[in-house]
């Protein structure tokens, strides 16, 4: 993975963070993922420290983060910034403020009995349950819920985070697709059963593995393997392989496919974000 490391070090933007492509403006999610990969390399320490300083510098007064330095609204990116800071830097006021924002951000919840019945009939889900949304006040979805769960695991807020994390576990269980696995968060719509997808299944498995491994079903893992094989995308392969390895499983096929997709310059598709995720998956550590 030395080549991936060189590519990532060369593609840091303005000594700050990383974007979703070379020469793209740095964004929180890509920077966080790259930081998680770099933290095991002493040769990357200076680049990592600059990235962490950049993340802290663009934190909003409310404690959250947006897409990048220009984004004034805090949203789902907060969980990624927290993950990177917690795993790469240790306790800090920035982490405490970010954790508070994430714990307190509101999501849409239905309480009305008629609406709840409609939700159950049309989408097969319990709209009273809340996880995390992409942006404040919106509906909950699987991916931001799973990433927020990982970010709030071992939160400096301690017991205060427990009720919401427990509800998030119930939310993920409720959103599980028939047959196992997850998609964005709609297991059905009207009469159609919506298929599970690899990436949200991988995120859900990682979150549940950390917080409630007892609710993971064998069907979830089978579904993940099946979706990884047919998805065709690098993210599906990478997140899928990483989730499998964290669960103590493996997929030599996915590993071979990932290695075959690496470019000569060490990157995956000249994309720092994809490169860091693929490299993390191959390392088997998040």
């Amino acid at each position: 993975m030395t080549d991936a490391l060189s590519f990532l070090l060369d593609s840091q933007v303005n000594s700050q963070g990383w974007g979703y492509g070379v020469n793209h403006a740095p964004v929180v999610e890509a920077t966080a993922v790259v930081a998680l990969y770099l933290r095991r390399f002493s040769a990357a320490d200076a680049a990592l420290q600059r990235a962490l300083q950049w993340l802290e510098a663009i934190q909003h007064e409310d404690g959250g983060w947006g897409l990048n330095a220009l984004d004034a609204e805090s949203g789902w990116h907060t969980a990624w910034a927290l993950l990177a800071l917690k795993r790469c830097a240790g306790a800090s006021p920035a982490i405490a403020a970010g954790s508070r924002w994430l714990l307190q951000v509101e999501v849409m919840r239905f309480q009305d009995a008629e609406l709840l019945a409609d939700g159950r009939r049309v989408a097969g889900i319990d709209f009273a349950l809340g996880g995390w949304s992409w942006l404040p006040g919106e509906a909950s979805w699987v991916e931001p819920t799973a990433i927020a769960m990982l970010a709030l695991q071992d939160s400096p807020l301690g017991e205060a985070a427990q009720p919401r994390l427990e509800e998030a576990v119930r939310y993920l269980v409720d959103r599980r697709c028939p047959g196992g696995g997850w998609n964005v968060g709609n297991p059905m719509m009207f009469d159609a059963l919506l298929p599970a997808r690899a990436a949200p299944t991988a995120w859900s498995l990682m979150a549940l593995h950390a917080l409630a491994p007892e609710v993971i079903l064998a069907e979830d893992i089978q579904t993940l393997r099946g979706e990884m094989a047919q998805d065709g995308g690098l993210l599906a392969l990478s997140w899928g392989l990483l989730a499998l390895r964290l669960l103590g499983e493996d997929s030599p096929e996915a590993e071979s496919q990932l290695l075959a997709a690496q470019s000569e310059n060490g990157s995956w598709q000249d994309n720092p974000y994809l490169t860091a995720i693929a490299a993390l998956a191959l390392r088997g550590e998040f």
Partner: protein
């Protein structure tokens, strides 16, 4: 000192002022939430479209299959349909790549996209790119896997842009359409395009009624800012989001892939309709109204089309169709389920 005497003329002026003021106050009140100024602007724009603006031309092109000579068919009608000049222009082709499910024709056919690419390159566009930001998948590659589109674009040296990650930048939100929102983030290739060709699948949509060239534009909103799905749209209202976004974009022209349409539970789980038509025009509203009628809708049944007409965002009353017979192409698509 005697009290000043109000002359008859002054009294009438005063009455007139009171009348005008009361009228404006009443107008302001009954036109809420948009307000009198916006109402007057919309009405003026709408009446202009109805009585003064040039007719919109929509070409209806019979195309029984994707193996047909689509490039030639589109080329034959390009000028007559009033399509924009593309020579020397940077053009972004925006197909619908919402998601893919086996046996469901949810996305614009790759053959239709490639035909438009070849046509634009042949007409001398300085830069042609193809892009979309799928709503339910983190990677466009997941939607296109197995379609052959990305490989075929590489052969043509045409980039595919995953608009969910295209270095987005904030632009001032269209006033009065995104309530409480100061800025909307848009992908770099969208902002830098001289022209966008909206290239949707002709299909039903269980929230929006019909999904055509205007609705298709929502795919440009970057997931890396708004998430997957782009829930922001539903919270701001689908109609307001579609029409507000449309007004923020570079010029948009429309080509609708109705060779195989989708009826029933669109945008993803509907069933195929062998419709055999391509619709093309420079005015997306006129094209969408024509397509909605081809699908068996009255245009005002599709809220965003009715609202676009009401606010004068395109031609809605004087639409000339050329090419194939509208009556022969008219179908009655099965309606989508609703709550």
């Amino acid at each position: 000192m005697p009290a000043p005497k109000l002359s008859r003329r002054a009294f009438i002026r005063l009455l007139s002022l009171i009348g005008i003021g009361s009228g404006l106050a009443l107008l302001e009140r009954i036109t809420q939430p948009i307000g009198a100024a916006k109402f007057v602007q919309w009405q003026a724009r709408s009446r202009y479209q109805q009585f003064l603006a040039p007719r919109a031309v929509v070409a209806l092109i019979e195309c029984p299959s994707y193996q047909a000579e689509i490039v030639q068919k589109l080329s034959d009608f390009w000028n007559a349909a009033g399509m924009p000049k593309v020579h020397g222009q940077k053009v972004l082709i925006k197909p619908n790549l919402v998601d893919t499910v086996a046996e469901r024709p949810a996305i614009t056919a790759p053959q239709a996209t490639l035909a438009v690419v070849d046509l634009l390159k042949g007409m001398g566009a300085s830069q042609v790119s193809v892009g979309d930001g799928p709503a339910f998948r983190r990677e466009a590659q997941s939607v296109l896997s197995g379609s052959g589109l990305i490989e075929a674009l590489k052969d043509r040296n045409v980039p595919f842009i995953d608009l969910n990650y295209d270095d987005p930048q904030p632009l001032p939100a269209q006033k009065d359409w995104f309530i409480g929102i100061k800025e909307i983030w848009l992908p770099r290739h969208v902002v830098e395009a001289d022209l966008i060709i909206s290239l949707p699948k002709m299909k039903m949509h269980h929230w929006a009624g019909a999904s055509l060239s205007l609705k298709n534009l929502l795919g440009v909103l970057p997931g890396c800012r708004y998430g997957w799905p782009k829930n922001f749209i539903h919270f701001r209202g689908i109609t307001a989001s579609i029409l507000g976004l449309y007004q923020m974009l570079p010029p948009v022209a429309a080509i609708v892939d109705g060779v195989v349409g989708m009826e029933g539970d669109g945008p993803v789980f509907g069933m195929p309709v062998a419709h055999g038509v391509l619709a093309m025009g420079a005015d997306p509203l006129a094209v969408d109204i024509t397509c909605a009628r081809l699908m068996g809708f009255e245009p005002w049944e599709v809220e965003h089309l009715g609202m676009a007409a009401y606010s004068g965002l395109g031609q809605f009353s004087r639409i000339e169709t050329i090419g194939a017979s509208f009556d022969q192409l008219k179908r009655n698509y099965q309606r989508p389920p609703s709550i």
